[in-house]
Symmetry: C2
């Protein structure tokens, strides 16, 4: 049954895929819902998208680039979850932690990665940070914070969520009762309402 949809169509000819790039990212999300990030293979993603093992190289220079695209999609998603205006930093932290828990492998992929990063991922991360800074400013305890301090607090909350998720997912608190794990929302609110937060200390170790 030859389908004659002209633009933006699937199943163009069973040879050309149509939009393999997007399909690979979707397949990545799908597989991440059912397994760890270490189990992602280029061949596996390609097979999942119904395509040959080396076809992804027409859309991504290497495996890392594909994973980065998936990670960027994740940051956009998290930023959207945190975005609704009026959300304070505590609620933002709680929503991030919830995302990390619900999509464990995806979150790990987002958080992983080396120092050099593509533009798309960098921008997506910047978007999340912007939302977090906004939430911090909305949560200002009366006198508000200096702009630099709002950023520092936002980064601190971000790091807190990243670290707690890591500890939960196997980095360390397996032996702890759940009651011993602090609540990221409470911690975040504690950080905004806490005393001032100077910048990183002098480089003396």
């Amino acid at each position: 049954m030859p389908n004659s949809l002209p633009a933006n169509a699937k199943s163009k000819s069973a040879y050309h895929h149509g939009d393999l790039r997007a399909a690979l990212i979707r397949e990545g999300l799908r597989q991440l819902e059912a397994g760890a990030v270490a189990e992602l293979s280029l061949r596996g993603l390609a097979k999942g998208a119904g395509v040959s093992g080396s076809a992804p190289y027409r859309h991504f220079p290497d495996k890392a680039a594909l994973l980065e695209a998936i990670a960027a999609e994740g940051y956009r998603r998290v930023a959207a979850v945190v975005a609704p205006s009026g959300v304070r930093i505590g609620e933002a932290a709680r929503r991030m932690a919830s995302f990390a828990e619900q999509h464990g492998a995806w979150w790990e992929l987002m958080v992983a990665g080396g120092p050099s990063v593509g533009a798309e991922l960098e921008e997506a991360r910047g978007g999340l940070l912007t939302e977090l800074v906004g939430a911090v400013e909305r949560s200002g305890s009366g006198a508000g914070h200096a702009p630099d301090e709002a950023i520092r607090i936002a980064v601190a909350v971000w790091a807190l969520v990243v670290g707690l998720a890591r500890l939960r997912a196997g980095g360390g608190v397996a032996l702890l009762d759940e009651a011993m794990v602090p609540d990221p929302a409470v911690l975040a609110e504690s950080l905004v309402s806490g005393r001032s937060m100077p910048r990183a200390g002098a480089p003396r170790p």
Copy 2:
């Protein structure tokens, strides 16, 4: 020059290694000082220890077990760095962060890993947590904390250091000025002197 040291010796016969297990761990540390954890290969470690590619399987059931042994050594080291009595939680956090920065790849290996973990690593982590809880108790703001709360604060500080190290090493703050990165020591002290910290919230997402 045949060495005739009887016990605990190296170069016994150029066939049997002497103490391959320890040598593999040392070689792991050596290679981690010069490269990322993803570049560690069993064959590479074996070659570095002057031994055949499958010899490590006589001492570790698989690659993950070797990496866990290296990680456990790291936690023991960090616990020792944090241990000196009198250290408050802020200084403990600063020392952990310093270790994470100086031994980036080693730290990543320690923090990585899935939910199931060997006894040695579990115990080493427990030792670090014990030290952190002690530091929190020493830092009590006047009235001291309930024991559960000291643990929660220690876990929070641990998570903070883990998250900040991850963000620094490529998880997100590449675009930030160094002045925007909060100081873990200040954050940690802020958490102990902050308001009370209830346990993790109800499971309502």
